[in-house]
């Protein structure tokens, strides 16, 4: 059976033109997706748990969904300061339930944002965000900048769908008519096709932005001959390219947000884009990783007012990244239970945090065995959004897309499992 216009649940590009061919419950062919997406879709059944598992001494035992859900609810109800973490690879409906549950429990809810584009959000909260939808870039942009990111390997269709290779209304032959600037600390695959590759010394982003802003403002005289390894000549050339573009689109990744300077780097980038808008049109877009990490920011925001790291322990929504972010709470050994949904902190968090995770009752809701599995006391497998579960996801530019399903493997969805845990919690906690 052939399923057309399916949505790829891998990265923040949320490509929605995927063709999947299935025979029974096997995927036999995937068209249009990139290598990463194809791998996820083709291996829809790989590594997935058959059912919930729970710790049994040093080993594991199988459990029923009823039992695992009961356990998860009990753990959360017993906790003084539960942490509900993850949420980037699941549907918006599940994220909404997560927020309501955290509120009722007086817990903390955080998404993987706090370890990827959290600094971008902090910068946006200081100076705003001149952005646009990706189709706007495709149709109009004659200059693209990728800074601290490598879409060729991390967002493989970004350039063919939205930028370098994507023909648009005002650019009939985009590859010839568009210029590409890549800024990074090393020559990546993406850099190899750039019109200008700017190699900066690690930690030099902030200085380079400041120099560019000075040049754009007509104060090039204050810029020294080299800035963070970049010559003034190249900076002046780039500034001129930026000012003379009809429409410039700036994209950046965790290479910028997690480099020294962090959110100040992003703030400087946004202010450069603001400055360029006085001459021509410029927009800026964070390259979001997980396919629905932006959705978690959106859902959290309309429900609580804050995009991530929301602490309900005072009954109000309290937000203070650095204090209420998952890594900080774990490092301080503050939480006494953790529910992890659709993410893999075991592969990304500092060792100190993982040690704490193993010392408290940690429940993982995830379709597959991951690096986080060994750290948990219970894992509940669910359907994968975009494969055997449907739901809402937000693309990196804020466009909400309905993610569809092409298989039925009999797993409950995240929304169903979290909904059932929430029901149990409500039986005890609701007034």
């Amino acid at each position: 059976m052939i399923h057309t216009d399916m949505v790829c649940p891998f990265c923040g590009c949320l490509c929605d033109d995927i063709v999947v061919e299935t025979e029974g419950n096997a995927v036999v062919r995937v068209d249009n997706a990139c290598t990463l997406g194809t791998h996820k879709l083709m291996n829809a059944s790989m590594d997935r748990l058959k059912g919930p598992i729970m710790r049994d001494g040093a080993g594991w035992r199988d459990a029923t969904y009823d039992e695992a859900i009961e356990y998860a609810a009990g753990v959360l109800l017993d906790a003084d300061r539960p942490l509900l973490y993850g949420w980037s690879s699941t549907q918006g409906e599940a994220q909404g339930l997560g927020v309501s549950m955290a509120e009722l429990l007086g817990g903390v809810i955080d998404s993987t944002t706090s370890v990827c584009h959290g600094p971008s959000i902090l910068a946006i909260q200081e100076v705003g965000h001149p952005g646009c939808t990706l189709g706007q870039v495709k149709n109009r942009a004659d200059l693209i900048v990728y800074w601290g990111c490598n879409p060729t390997e991390a967002h493989p269709r970004h350039m063919s769908r939205y930028t370098t290779y994507a023909d648009g209304f005002f650019l009939q032959n985009s590859f010839r008519e568009r210029k590409l600037i890549v800024v990074d600390i090393r020559k990546t695959e993406t850099a190899s096709i750039a019109d200008e590759f700017v190699q900066i010394t690690p930690g030099g982003d902030y200085a380079v932005f400041s120099a560019l802003r000075a040049i754009v403002r007509g104060r090039g005289d204050v810029v020294p001959p080299t800035v963070a390894g970049v010559t003034k000549e190249q900076l002046e050339r780039i500034a001129e390219m930026c000012k003379s573009a009809k429409f410039g689109a700036f994209f950046f990744g965790v290479g910028l947000t997690m480099a020294p300077g962090r959110y100040k780097n992003v703030r400087n980038a946004i202010e450069l884009v603001d400055e360029l808008n006085r001459y021509t049109k410029w927009t800026l877009t964070p390259l979001r990783g997980h396919y629905n990490v932006y959705g978690s920011n959106e859902v959290f925001t309309w429900m609580t007012g804050y995009p991530y790291a929301v602490d309900f322990s005072r009954q109000i929504a309290f937000y203070n990244p650095g204090e209420t972010t998952a890594v900080d709470i774990l490092a301080r050994k503050e939480c006494d239970a953790c529910l992890i949904v659709a993410s893999d902190p075991g592969a990304h968090f500092p060792r100190k945090c993982l040690e704490h995770l193993t010392s408290i009752p940690t429940v993982l809701i995830d379709p597959a065995r991951t690096v986080t599995t060994p750290l948990c006391r219970c894992q509940i497998p669910t359907a994968v959004t975009g494969i055997d579960a449907s739901g809402t996801a937000y693309r990196m530019d804020g466009v909400p897309i309905h993610v569809k399903t092409f298989l039925d493997l009999g797993y409950p969805t995240d929304t169903e499992v979290i909904g059932r845990i929430f029901e149990k919690v409500q039986e005890v906690r609701h007034p």
Binding site: T4, D5, D16, D17, G92, G96, S100, E103, L104, I124, Q125, V127, G128, H129, P130, G131, C132, T133, L134, G135, Q136, K138, N139, R161, D167, G168, F169, F170, K246, F247, D274, N277, R278, T280, K281, T283, N297, E298, V299, T301, W302, M303, T304, G305, Y306, P307, F312, R314, Q315, I316, A317, Y319, T392, Y394, G398, V399, P400, I401, H402, P431
Partner: protein, 566 residues
């Protein structure tokens, strides 16, 4: 079967010409009926002012730019925090509160139906998601067509039917309510960093002018028999001297509908500016109101500015960038491919600022100078002029010359020479306030037929009981009591169920989303038109099949079907 009896209500229901009659209101299963049985729940209104539930025909409470206003403003969130209690969720935010906070605060003020003023079709799903988290009001979304490529191409080609076909298809697809035009053509120009100055400038690359867009969309609106008229945010918002552009627009609006206006002009305060720069800036409310008085085909809303902190947000992207260059705080922008754009900046309106003081006066002048209250709606263009929680103060300002004078004494001392407000003696009465806050809004939206904005038999039992006895209060003198009463109902009843009592939230409700589905008949299905499909394939970044909003996004859906007449 649920039954409710509201006894001893002092009712003002302008649509049914009831102006101050003490009566009982019977409700069965969410609708107003002749009478109910002895087992009905009884609420004693104790002679208090009782009105149909409030309707806000122009507010920004849900959707991409509203949520981005929250996202970029943790400082605003800290201003409105309340703890979770009972069925009530925790709330945050003052000028752009969370969905729950919006819903609770509107409910406490007696509002039961809201129209989100601007929804980009491509991102409609987001608006509907937020609607489902707005528990206590029925919701509608006007849909943005100001920079729609398909529409502009059809207008350029002189194909009026095609304009209507695209609008009809889009409204059905995104489950929108009516047509919104924000700075028509200007948002497309902003795609390359430009703007248009007024209605006769040509939209770059598309060969059409704003007035052509406005007129074609008005005709399409009538072809599709939409309940609401075109909802227009005029070109050239916020600039000194822009009243001429506003009048130029108003003077070219045909009168095409006997039942309602042909044009709803939004936040006209922002479009009634005289002078040639900020130094000569002054009010031109008089000529604008005079024009409205002579054109029954136009309804306006005030867009009242109130002093204090707020967040401005509009699909008028270039205007927001200009505002950012004046305020230097922070700026967000979000252009939407093939359709529209938007911008957001925080603003503080100051009494000490002459321009802000004049803006404050202009909104009030418009409401006092427009003779017919059915032609002027009470709004702040929430949150652009002020957060909606300021409505009670605006009501009091309109009812009391004394209050206006007291406030006027506190604004910038030079304001007097720039406005006519001190010379206006008119004081609106309770009935006029009821028109401007519910009856007139429901009529302008075309939703009285589905039982909104009135308390006649069969109407939705959306009722607001305010803790004030009309006969015992002189609003012209005791304006403080008016403010208090409109700030917090004694009861707000939604679909026959009390949802607030003395400011307390009683239930976690479920709203109805009202949307319009024009049936176009054979030969008018643009969804299968080769050119239209090609435009989608080539230039949108989502597939056409993934564009429409699925039914499951509307928890409770009220579909208003219309029959297009080409």
């Amino acid at each position: 079967m649920s039954e409710l009896l509201v006894k001893n209500a002092y009712v003002i229901d302008p649509i049914n010409r009831i102006d101050g009659e003490v009566m009982d209101i019977a409700v069965r299963d969410g609708r107003i009926v002749e009478d109910v049985g002895p087992k009905a729940t009884v609420i004693d209104a104790e002679g208090c002012l009782t009105l149909p539930g409030g309707v806000d025909s122009h507010t920004h409470v849900c959707g991409t730019k509203v949520n981005f206003g929250r996202y970029m403003s943790p400082e605003d969130m800290r201003a409105g925090r309340e703890a979770r209690r009972g069925v009530k969720h925790a709330t945050s935010g003052y000028s752009v509160p969370t969905t729950y906070a919006n819903s609770y605060r509107y409910a406490v003020m007696g509002y039961t139906t809201l129209l989100e003023g601007a929804m980009a079709p491509l991102e409609a799903r987001h608006t509907h998601e937020e609607f489902s988290a707005t528990p206590l009001q029925d919701m509608m979304a006007n849909t943005l067509f100001d920079g729609n490529w398909g529409v502009m191409n059809a207008i350029r080609d002189g194909d009026q039917d095609r304009v209507a076909e695209i609008v009809g298809w889009t409204l059905s697809a995104v489950k929108g309510f009516g047509i919104k035009l924000t700075n028509p053509g200007g948002t497309e120009a902003w795609g390359f960093g430009k703007n248009l100055t007024c209605i006769n400038d040509e939209v770059p690359n598309f060969g059409v002018t704003p007035i052509e867009i406005i007129q074609a969309m008005i005709r399409a609106c009538e072809t599709l028999r939409l309940p609401h008229s075109v909802h227009l945010h005029c070109n050239n918002l916020g600039n000194p001297g822009n009243y001429a552009c506003t009048l130029g627009t108003f003077n070219q609006i045909p009168d095409l509908n006997e039942k309602r206006q042909t044009l709803y002009a939004t936040h006209v305060q922002f479009h009634s500016y005289g002078g040639s720069d900020w130094k000569t800036f002054c009010s031109k409310a008089e000529p604008v109101a005079y024009t409205v008085n002579n054109r029954p085909q136009i309804v306006i809303d005030m867009g009242q500015v109130m002093f204090g902190k707020t967040t401005t947000m509009t699909a008028d992207g270039p205007m927001e960038f200009n505002l950012y260059r004046l305020h230097h705080d922070k700026w967000s922008n979000h252009d939407v491919e093939l359709e529209t754009g938007s911008g957001i900046i925080p603003v503080f309106y100051r009494r000490k600022n002459l321009v802000n003081s004049i803006m404050w006066a202009i909104g009030l002048e418009l409401a006092l100078l427009v003779k017919n209250p059915w032609q002027c709606m009470l709004t702040t263009d929430n949150p652009n002029g002020a957060p909606f929680v300021k409505y009670p103060e605006i009501i009091a300002l309109l009812m009391s010359k004394k209050y206006r004078d007291a406030e006027f004494a506190t604004v910038h001392p030079d304001t007097g020479s720039k406005v006519v407000l001190p010379a206006l003696d008119r004081e609106l009465d309770w009935n006029e306030i009821a028109v401007m806050t519910r009856a007139g809004q429901a009529k302008a939206l075309g939703i009285t037929g589905i039982g909104k904005g009135h308390l006649g038999l069969g109407a939705e039992a959306d009722i607001a009981i305010y803790p004030i006895r009309v006969g015992e209060v002189d609003p012209a003198q005791e304006y403080g009591k008016v403010i208090d009463a409109f700030s917090r109902t004694k009861y707000t009843i939604k679909r026959g169920r009390p949802v607030t009592r003395d400011g307390e939230i009683l239930v976690h409700g479920e709203n109805t989303t009202i949307w319009v589905d024009p049936k176009m008949g054979p030969g008018h299905d643009i969804g299968h038109d080769a050119e239209f499909v090609k435009m989608f394939d080539r230039y949108y970044s989502v597939r056409m099949s993934n564009y429409p909003v699925q039914d499951e996004y509307l928890k409770r859906s009220l579909r208003m079907e219309t029959e297009a007449v080409f």
